[in-house]
Subunit: 306 residues, 6 copies
């Protein structure tokens, strides 16, 4: 989606200027992974309009393969407006009903492309967009699973897109097929009635996940697998500038660790560091680090800044 | 609609900042009439969101009665993005499918309010938005006509909203019920196959119109009634800043003349002046004058500017 | 007044850009009340210039009846520049000597309009502007009182507009005629030599007030009447964005409670909530809530923000 | 004065942002002369406020001696707002009644400073500001004349500051004491009833002027002295960006020629070139050239621009 | 290079804000070709800094293969500031001495990559940057020529980078190895002493070029080959917004024609159209069209713009 | 140098707009001293370009004598880009290699000017710029010392400009000639291996300094002389906006105290106050106070701010 950011706080009716950028949980994860040095491809559907061309150019510019993003000649690219208040989470206004992305279908999938991947990352947002989008996610997971591609899943519940009952039933169904799950505490509450990381981990492991990395905001994360489970403390950010995108950075950091064969504790640390760095910068994806930068941040190298 | 204006020329994907303002043929006419000193009411349907509240505040701020604008609790307020090029007409991108305005229904009409009016002004845009919107226009015209309220109509053909066949059939149907029509030359071409003002006038008069004021851009207008017809020369604008809104200002100027009992030639002159003044300012409605200002512009008073 | 806000902190000589908005204690209270659902009218005098037309359009847009704001054909609309520093109160520079507003006279009052109101709200600022302005306030109060219209008064002492001796003598005189007073702690100090809410309350009650709602910043307020007195704790705002306008929102919230026949404690809570919400947004009046929004804020409803 | 420039065309009530810069006929001439390499001092009176400090810093930064600008501890620095329309002269709104500058008195003059100058340049604007300002101009002229300092005068009639009768009587009185006069065609019309350069020249020569350089916009100027008179053709500016300040640049160019002992034709050419260059840039004084730049512009040197 | 564009006209010392974008004759041609649907790779050397990463992301985002752009860990990415005046060509200020790009060496070339190309496009700018850069161009041409890759060359003389003698000797040397040359009229003057397109064409053909496409600004171009020569009239642009980049668009359009096997006349028309469209938009490369857009512009399709 | 400030946080490649201002440790100290009421001259070398003219105009505008700043006709004025992150020190990117300033030589010194001064203030930055710059500093110190001009020195170590070994050897050499030294704690660590103010003070006193004022950030400073030493507590700044420039303000405050014959404790207090005020405003030098303002800040006078 194209994201319009107000240049001042307060109700949107008083805002005169908006800055354009891009938003999207999947594209965030893809960009963060590319920046960490991995080869990433991104599936989506864009309108045949300037906003679609913009999204494609930005994501391609970040080094993500966008050759599998298809174009919808009839529908428009989805939009998103943020409304910011001092120290309160932003409101968002979606213009994505009937957008190109919501019209993605199984025909937009390049199945061989999926088969040749190591990890398939999906989120609850696409599941909520439309029936064809949901079907597409199911199809992609099916193909991936039968080719031993790992399934990574971030529930990313957005109650502006679907109601909790529907969300719950579909998400729990997807969890069953998930290898690596990235729930947050609040999502634990919504889905399982508990925000205890321990319980969230066990529940999802029991449903079939191999790894559950529960995001705990500034506390860090709680990593659970069948072999082991532990709290991995987060990095201290004195005054976060913008926490949106932290969860996506976290997922990318974790998957990067998996791809580099780090152990789970190290995966959690890398994830925490990428998540924390995402909060230092206004914008969803501007703060994602390169491998070199995240290493510096984790304290492995020093840095002359002036 | 809320209008987002790029702060630079060129394809939108390269534009970083957008300014918010409002757009809409009917609200333009309403505002222009209010500024000329008339009592005006405005019917529409807005989303229960910040953009809807913004539109309402702006139009109310201009002195138009917005008490009959209803609120749709489910649909969003429509949006419009402009894309500007040096000396080429701007492109527009609509986000108004399924907008609150397109969901207006006959139930949103206050029939007594219409009955008590002197003129009902409608445009082809509302006719194109949706079936319920079209039905609502028909209903409003029906009630107005049976109470001797004058019907004023601007075809305002937008081929991004409907195709020419559908547009033609509906617009020609509305023309039959119209008292005062404001076609442009290009619309003559699309509807009648001619852009000859004389012919456009006669054709519409024959269909039942009482007055046909054909807009001729910088040339001015051609006014035809059953009694008389003549070209009324336009005002000279050395370098127009933005011609969008000129047609709406023209209609408002003409209707103001009618309400003031001016003769048709004078109505045409007032219309030309308001239309010309609209072109002096970037923005659809910012350039509409007060009665005093338009008189100055028409040369009746002088003005100390520094 | 028209308010020019610097787009950066620091001494104004280094500021390149200024944003235009409106300011004014009385218009703030009027707008806040309108937003809370009440019918409000606003008296003032504006220049016959673009800045005057701007103020009128904004306030009318917010749903306040501006039909009683008169126009001064000779004097200009007053201006105000703010100068902001990190975590220090802003400086203000007035350009309002001899402004249209300072030239308001008793002839600008529509006495019947006042007679038909429930509450007349006045502030110390108008008293300080000029002799005719002061006379006008006295006249309005006189007419209101003899028609059982409640007098509401916010001292709003501005030592840039008058010196403390003059301010004190006039304000104490007005207090005698006041039904509902909204002093702040600092004003208690300036007027009575004490910033003890209890003492401020008693002193003003003794002078004839029926209700004294002393504003205590983030602490909330202290409400005193002849029957009862109590501290009503404020809402917690982690990091206020801009506290200007909080006092006006507070007054509006309180008066709204009175008009809704809430008890004094509830009036204080509503006032605190509106005051607190005003601090969440940059700008004097942009943060004032609708009734629905303030109820959400007070914890009565939940809200899906994405 | 501090000048606030709207960042968009149209009525000021629709303008959101204003840029700050400085304005003033005398300071323009002083800056232009400094840039051309002369030693210049500037008399004025500024408020003891940020706007006053800003003006002083800018003019000093340009190399003008501001040590004789005095400070008024009570009055504010004057302001000026511009309102721009496409290809129509801007409107201006003054906030300078009772400003520090209008309170300048003969006591603010350093008479020895004047005595040691070669030229004293005054304009009709200061004459219009207030009675003390006018008196101050008279005093300065008196002292200058009795020390053989040349008097240079630009009528600069502003009908927003005084009416034509008063303007005429004072200006004609000053003309009698003027050595070098810089009238425009329109001013000829207002003062003498003729815009014929020949006639303007003769009339003023007869009144006692030694040189009359009548400004003719893009046509250039008409230079008349007792010995000779001729039209000096202007430079061709394809599309001027902003003509405000051209007249001040012209005067500075002419006076620079006088100080360099050029002949009158050459003075006129230099004046035309500086005037033309001022029109190439938005802003009153930003376009004034150095001697080297104006020589390039006049075609004496070439220039590698990339 | 990173290009900093002033947000207002006039001398840079008065400009407060600068917008960042990219510039570079070779990257412009690469982007324009990519947009027209061709596979393009780009050689350069960038600093290991944010500006280098920015350039890489933008060019990659446009669909150009940047995998052969190397990184200099010691030198900074070059910068360029523009200074704009109304209707005068902009001045440019370079900060590229010792930049990463000027440090490109033959080792930065992937010779196989060059061998597999159809066309190698080089410009006089790289020749002027440094000795190693020049050597690199020579090496690339040598490899290309011995593999039957066409050499395309735009002299792009920048006298701020080298003096005319040096420029002339090197450029004439390169011309001998060039297949397709894109001189401008002014360059004809500088190199050959004539701005007659006919003569420029013949001269270069005699030196060994196969095609000489001389750019004639709004007049279009003059195409000369051994078989034929003709003037191809340009497209009419009422008011060009920014002519920088037109020459690069022209070259790309022409090369696109060659790659599509169009005849020379058609190549010239496509080149003229791309060049003309580049002038419609502020910015060097923002105006380059897709194939579909340029076809519309050339009049083959119609377009519904609202 | 000209400083380009990003208008948003985050990596520079995502920043669209930059604001221009000036930077430079020596010019900061000069401006701060001028604002405190002293006569100050400034030596430097600027490019013969718009950026050089800008720096000169700003510094002259602040009341500093710039008549001894020389112009380099070949080299450009140096640039500096900042990159800001939430609550992390900014990164800086220099474009000053080979800049005009780095080309300053002993010939650019006006030795009589130095001889007639009371204090010569130099910093480690100039020492790091180039060999000629270093030689120039040495020469200036030599001339000053032999005329009993006090030497004031701020090490200002920038490891982006030289490495620690070279920095250390030169700075320790300069310290021997220094009368008043302004090290920071971190510099103590780098130079002496200790950040203990007591030890830093003693070490430098032993090397020959008369006064060592070690800067301790918000803690204030530690003043050591041969007679006495003490901690002078800093002013409390709730939330500093920008700490860059604090050290320069500190030095200026201290030197102002010396020039006013204050005792060392009072010098430290004045220095702390100027340093603290510098942190209240974004920008290096915008926050420096006048004597009157710093007195207010130190609590000697009260201030009516609205
Ligand atoms: N304020 C913070 N300080 C440090 N790290 C944070 C902070 N906020 C988020 N993170 C990191 O980012 C991760 C994801 O953030 P979180 O806010 O929990 O996710 P989501 O955005 O999905 O709700 C956290 O697990 C943590 O590692
Ligand atoms: N360039 C112009 N110069 C002068 N008047 C104009 C100009 N453009 C529009 N007008 C006035 O506005 C009226 C409506 O403009 P037009 O462009 O014909 O309408 P529309 O916007 O509906 O196409 C014209 O009839 C004329 O009176
Ligand atoms: N920082 C804050 N946190 C919470 N509530 C606040 C805060 N500041 C103001 N308020 C609310 O607004 C009311 C008025 O604010 P206050 O600053 O006391 O008034 P004034 O602007 O007149 O000085 C307070 O009584 C309180 O209810
Ligand atoms: N459009 C223009 N083209 C060329 N020169 C101009 C132009 N406008 C002004 N000038 C030069 O500036 C001088 C003063 O401009 P003018 O507009 O006549 O003065 P004023 O601003 O006092 O009315 C003219 O005499 C001429 O030399
Ligand atoms: N004003 C214009 N109108 C139409 N086409 C233009 C215009 N300017 C440039 N072009 C097209 O772009 C091509 C290159 O422009 P030109 O200015 O000649 O090149 P350069 O930028 O290399 O000097 C021209 O040959 C022409 O086709
Ligand atoms: N956060 C702060 N609060 C109060 N005073 C400060 C603060 N930061 C700096 N100062 C004042 O400015 C002086 C210089 O600041 P410091 O940061 O130590 O210098 P530098 O910029 O050279 O590192 C300090 O000694 C102190 O007096």
């Amino acid at each position: 989606m194209v994201l319009f950011n107000p240049d001042s706080t307060g109700p949107l009716r008083y805002v005169h200027n908006f800055n354009k950028s891009i938003a999207g949980a999947e594209s965030n994860v893809a960009i963060a992974l590319a920046r960490l040095g991995h080869e990433v491809g991104w599936f989506s559907k864009l309108g045949d309009d300037e906003f679609g061309r913009y999204i494609k150019a930005v994501i391609r510019g970040e080094g993500v393969d966008v050759s599998r993003a298809s174009i919808d000649s009839e529908r428009s690219t989805g939009l998103l407006f943020k409304e910011r208040f001092a120290h309160v989470n932003p409101n968002v206004y979606y213009y994505r009903k009937n957008s190109a992305a919501s019209n993605i279908t199984t025909e937009d999938l390049d199945l061989d492309y999926i088969r040749s991947a190591k990890i398939l990352h999906v989120t609850g947002i696409t599941l909520a967009l439309s029936h064809t989008a949901r079907e597409t996610v199911y199809k992609a997971i099916e193909v991936a699973k039968s080719n031993n591609v790992l399934i990574s899943f971030d529930p990313n519940i957005r109650l502006k897109l679907w109601n909790i009952e529907e969300a719950k039933s579909i998400i729990m169904d997807i969890i069953k097929m998930t290898d690596i799950a990235f729930p947050g505490k609040e999502e634990g509450k919504l889905l399982l009635g508990t925000d205890e990381p321990k319980e969230i981990g066990r529940f999802f492991l029991n449903m079939g996940c191999k790894i559950v990395a529960t995001k705990l905001g500034k506390e860090g994360c709680y990593i659970a697998s069948r072999e082991n489970e532990e709290l991995v403390a987060g990095y201290i950010v004195e005054k976060p500038e913008d926490t949106v995108g932290a969860g996506d950075g976290f997922a990318a950091g974790f998957l990067s660790g998996i791809l580099r064969n780090l152990n789970l504790r190290e995966c959690g640390q890398l994830a925490n560091a990428v998540g924390a760095m995402a909060t230092l910068v206004r914008g969803d994806m501007e703060g994602f680090p390169t491998l070199q930068q995240v290493k510096k941040y984790m304290g492995i190298e020093t840095h002359i800044d002036r």
